[in-house]
């Protein structure tokens, strides 16, 4: 028997350029609207997905706009599972960046202008895992909703 109240998984495929990323994020928001998530959780989702996609564009595809990024969002018992695939370069050392909190206790001239992305991804997600299968990077995580 089909449970008609269960939300369908959401799949998106888009190119590795910043404009396509913006469009994908907008489509996620539209697609998630039916779930009536608290605004706070939609904000979290957009932050995390933006950072993940930007990393793929910049590092996996080295700013080439012709790479493909695939997103799968599925409801889980206590959150939303996200799976993101790309066919770009593997993560350095085949491992997730640590994403340590930046040290801001310094002169203005020494303040960091980057490195915030992985810190925010780690801070806002659970069960973050990375694997490489063949030519594909797989990143998965869960966000609480």
């Amino acid at each position: 028997m089909i449970d008609e109240t269960q939300n369908q998984p959401m799949r998106l495929t888009f190119n590795s350029d910043p404009v396509a990323v913006r469009s994908a994020l907008a489509q996620v928001k539209t697609g998630m609207a039916a779930r009536n998530l608290p605004p706070e959780h939609m904000v979290t989702m957009e932050i995390v997905l933006a950072e993940v996609f930007n990393n793929i564009v910049e590092h996996a595809y080295q700013e080439r706009p012709d790479g493909v990024i695939e997103l799968l969002l599925q409801d889980a018992r206590d959150g939303i599972n996200c799976d993101i695939r790309d066919q770009g370069l593997p993560m350095p050392d085949m491992a997730l960046p640590m994403g340590r909190e930046a040290n801001l206790n310094c002169a203005i001239a020494d303040l960091p202008e980057g490195g915030f992305g992985w810190f925010m991804i780690r801070d806002l997600t659970q069960h973050l895992t990375y694997s490489r299968i063949g030519d594909c990077n797989h990143l998965s995580f869960q966000m609480q909703v």
């Binding site: 904000v43 933006a50 930007n54 930046a102 960091p112 925010m120």
Partner: protein, 114 residues
């Protein structure tokens, strides 16, 4: 990336007429901000009330702009929307910037240059 600057004495009030400061526009934001604040006002107040999304690239551009103005000039922010506030708070950048709830009082009582 549309920024609009008004000059009041020792303040330059820069209004950001964009919804997002993100990877697609971060570099343009930093370049534009530098261009419109070339007048040399000691304080540059950036009114962010129309911006509802800033990612780490955008945050980096804002920090970069602050660093460019330092040490003689100060970059301050105003009108952060909830999502932007969240990003600043998560990264603790809200401890680094002077953040005004609104930019309204900076323009009040000033007349446009004739």
């Amino acid at each position: 990336m549309e920024l609009y600057a008004q000059h009041f004495g020792d303040i330059t009030l820069v209004s950001v007429n964009e919804n997002r400061i993100d990877a697609a526009g971060a570099i343009a934001f930093k370049d534009q901000l530098r261009a419109v604040s070339q007048d040399g006002a000691a304080r540059v107040i950036v009114d962010m009330c129309k911006v509802d999304f800033v990612d780490s690239s955008g945050l980096g551009a804002i920090v970069g702009a602050m660093k460019l103005l330092a040490p003689d000039r100060k970059l301050e922010l105003a009108g952060l929307t909830p999502m932007v506030e969240k990003v600043f708070h998560l990264t603790r950048m809200d401890t680094i910037f002077t953040i005004h709830r609104t930019a309204d009082h900076f323009a009040t009582g000033h007349q446009a240059a004739g």
